[in-house]
Structures are given as structure tokens and as C-alpha cells.
Amino acid sequence: MSELIPEAGDVLDVIQGTEQPATGARLSNRRMHHVLRRPRVLIPSLLVLLICLIAIAPALFAGWFGHGDPHECTLGNSGKPPQSGHPFGFDIQGCDLYANVVYGTRTSMLIALVGTSAALVVTLVLGSLAGYFRGAVDSVISRTMDIFFGFPSLIAMIILLNTIAVRSALTVSLVLALFVWAPLTRIFRASVLAVSNLEYVTAAKEIGASTPRILFKHVVPNAVGPLAAILTLTMAGIITAEAALTFLGVGLKAPTISWGVQLNTAQRYFTTNLNLLIFPSLFLSVTVLAFVMLGDALRDFLDPKAER
């Protein structure tokens, strides 16, 4: 379970018996279990777990109705409605839609994971630099953040992706990461700032601990807590954005199996083949909804100020 919210899990191990930071990052084991057992956290957690499982091993799920190969296509079946063994029907190429939608989970999750991880690395580095050292470093980083807050991100992503001729899952993830690091870094910087002022950090400085040691042992582990909820919401945001960009035609391209690609094709046939639109939409919506619900619940329960 703790792999879903690694930050909170790590915080747990490190902060036992330390001074309580002002950021609300501290969680006792008991409170953690208490939070996880709430239905508002538990239900979306299980859903997210299931989605991860589908993404890791789509073959396990795609074969349920006997036609698990998304590349096994017969043009004669193009656009046929659902029938026995093919619960979602066929796409325009005559491939089994169910298998394709199941395999689409992997692409979305991969992009969400790579994009969020890249943004997280940037956030951890820049946020600790800005929050701990302040001064000129902070000014430069904060002004750069301001610039990224100045973009309506979807527009900026469209402009950027439109100039890249060959787009892979990796390039799309990195472009997405480029526009999500700023809000994450703003939160983490504030959190580092608060933690750096606590007495145990001062104490560590006084006894002569080295700066890297203070940062890695005392500041960063205690400051990452507030990121847990927003990271989950970022995953949801990236999944939506990738689908939207691909749908618009600036994301992934056809041989890649992705919900966005499926929806992009479906928009041309939606008056005649509604199933092409409905099933990828359904999977996409449930996935994003699961992450949004989890993020919302985590924020409410982990942040004492937003107690619902």
C-alpha cells in the first residue's frame, strides 16, 4: 500500500521521534493506518492498484474474452458492433476494441509515471535549493517558476509539441513534465522553507553537520509530505493532458496503442460507431477519476488545515 504514496511512507520511517514540522508532514503509524482505512482513501487506492496491475500486465486482462491480441485484426470486421468474444466490438482497422483499450492503459500510465517522476526530480532539486539556500538562488528559481505560471499550459504544450516532428511516449512525457514542475516546486519550496526554520535543523547546524547531510537527512524527508496529494493529482492531470493532446493531433501517433489515439480516430466516426468513442472514454475517465479521488482524499486527510 505504501508504494502508492511513497513520500508519506518514507516520511514515516524518518520522522519517528523527531520534532513536528509545521507543514503537517508528520504522521504516526497509527494515523497512517487510520487514513488508509477510510473508504474515501481505500476505494480509489484499490482502483489505482488495479489500474497499475492492468498497465503492468495487460495480457492478463486483455484475454478474458478469448481475443487478447490487440494487433490481431481483420479488416472485414471494421467498425462492427459488440458481439460474443468481442464485448466492445471492433475498431476501424478491424481489431478487437477491448484488447486495444486494455493495452491503452499501459501507455497512459507509462507517460504519467515518467512525466511525474521527471517533474518530481526537478522539484526536489530546485525546491530544496530555493527553500534552503534562499537568496539569489531562490530568486532565480522563483522567477523561472513565475514564467511557467504565465503559460496556459495546454497552449504551450501544443506549440512545443507541434514543432517536434517525431513524437514518442518519452518526448510527450518530458514536454508534459516541463509544464507541471512549477506548481510542485512552489509547494515543495514553501515546505522546505518551513522545515528549515525548525529547531532540529538549527540544532544539526550547530553540531556541525554538513549541508548535504542536513538537506538529505533532516530537511527533504520532512518536507516531502505535502507533495503526496499533489503528485497524485499531477498523475491525473498528465493522463488527461496526454489524451487531450493526442486527441488534438499533437501527441502520440497511430501505431502506438493509446486512449488518445483511439479517441482521435473515433471523432471521425462518432455518428456511426459510438462504441469507438465510449469505451476508451470510459477507461480514461475511470482512471483519471481514481487518481483525482485519491489525491483529493489524501489532501483532506493529510493536511490538517483542510479537514473536511
Binding site: 497552449i155 493531433g249 475517465s285 483525482v292
Partner: protein, 310 residues
Amino acid sequence: MYGWYILRRIAGMVPVLLGTTFLIFLAVYALPGDPVQAIAGPGQPIPPATAEIIRAQYHLDDPLIVQYLQYMKRLLTGDFGTDLNGQSVGAVISASWPVTLKLALTAWVAAGVIGVALGTFSGIRSGGVIDNGTLVLTTIMLGVPYFVIAYVAKVVFAVKWKVLPPSGVAEGWPLSYILPGAVLAIFLIPEIARLTRASVMDNLRSDFVDTAVAKGLDRRTVVGRHVLRASLLPVVSSLGLSLGYMLSGAVLIEGIFNLPGLGYAMFRGINQHSGPTVVGIGTLMIMLFLLISLAVDVLYGVLDPRIRLV
């Protein structure tokens, strides 16, 4: 005092404006790869004569900084480039902005009214039926991507029931704008509702509310006069920024509903691989977004004098 505040805000906007335009410039003109290809759009075949014209027009043989200054000069004089058919992007923009403005205002007003109403009622009776209903509703709105909602709405209302036009603006305002406006409003309602709710709950706990209640004012007056007035401050700033975010929503919504606005022009630019259209309209949208944020900051200073001191 207030003049200084406005000046400070404008001064703060300059580096952001320079930064955003420089990033766009870098992405399009200076990234490794062939800038002529990037300007024309990926996959666009370019005859040598056209490439020559593009090189000259965008000063591609000059040093980077000269190119950037030329680019800024074109932007500030309202020249957003020319697409490959020789049509100026500026002409496309001036033909299509009224549609986007109508769509954005329709959605904005709807989202503001519904969002504030839902948020207020949830806030004054937190934990109640309306509150929980709003939580479920806003979660669904946040979770289901709005271009999915757009297609579902189009299929249900326009294709199956045929009560509203499925696309275009032939029926004029309001009929042609109801569906796309509603979908775009859904994009904004969750944030406005949640922000209003949190703000109302915060203010309900404050001392001035205790005072008002102690004076013997009835609940309606306390909520209407005292709580709401104070609670709407953060909402105003969020509403202002939403107007900017609607520009990006418009690309999808206008594309899906074939509304011939700015977003639709960009949507078509993407599909026809017309680089200048995408970059020109995108840049305009980003500049509009910055102007709106500036206006919101200035307005916020009027509404809440405390902020001018910060």
C-alpha cells in the same frame, strides 16, 4: 499608493512576458533541428523557394538575439505571421475572436454563478446533503476529461435528442453556444465551487461573524452581507484566471463543436500542419492570459487594500 501597486505589478509582468515569449521563440526557432521545418510545421513539404522566403522573413541567418528582437518586434506590432497559403494569421485572428469571446463569456458567467452558488451552500452547511452532493459532482467534473463530456453532450443533446445544434454557429447566440458553453463551464465549476466553499467556511469561523451574530442579525444577513462579501475575494482572482484558462479549453471545445473561433483556427492549424497558425494563435493566447492575470491583480488591489502593502 495604489499607483505604485499597479506599477509594481506591471514591472513584475515584464520579465514573465519576456520569459514566455523567449521560450516560445526558442522552441520554434532555435531548437536543434531545421527551423524552417519547425516554422512550416512538422511533415510539411517545403519547396526550396518557400524555404528561402521563410529564411529571409524570419531572419534565420542572423544571430539568435537579433532573431529574437525581430520576433518581438513582429509580435508587438501585431504581426502574428503568415500561414503557408499566404493568409496572414492576424486576419484569421480578427475574423474569429468574436466567437471565442462570446463562448468564453457565456461559459464564464454560467460557471461563476453556479460555482459560487454551489460553494456557498456547501460552505454554510458543510457535511450536509448539498455539500456532499457538490463534492461528488465536482469530483466527477474534475475526473472525467471535459473533451469526453463534450462528445457525450454532443451525442446526447444534438445527435440523439436533436434539441440543440451539434456544430457551427448558424443558429447564433444563445442556441449555438449553449452546449459548448455548458461543457466549458463544467471545466471551471469545480475550482470555483471548492474555493468558495473553503473561503465561506473560513470566514464563518471568524470573529466578525461572531460579532454580527451577537448583534442579533439574522442568518441571512450574516451570510449575505458579511460572510459572502469577504469570501468572494479569493474567488474573484480565481475567476479572473479562469477566463485565461478558458482559452486553452476553447481549443478542444471549439474543435469538437466546430465553432469558428480562435481555438477552432488553432485546432485546424494542428490538423493541417500549419506551423505559423498554431504558433501565432498560441502566442496571442498566452499574451491574453498574461494581460488577464495583470488585470486580475490590479482589480484585486482595488477590492482588498491589504494586498497593496505586500
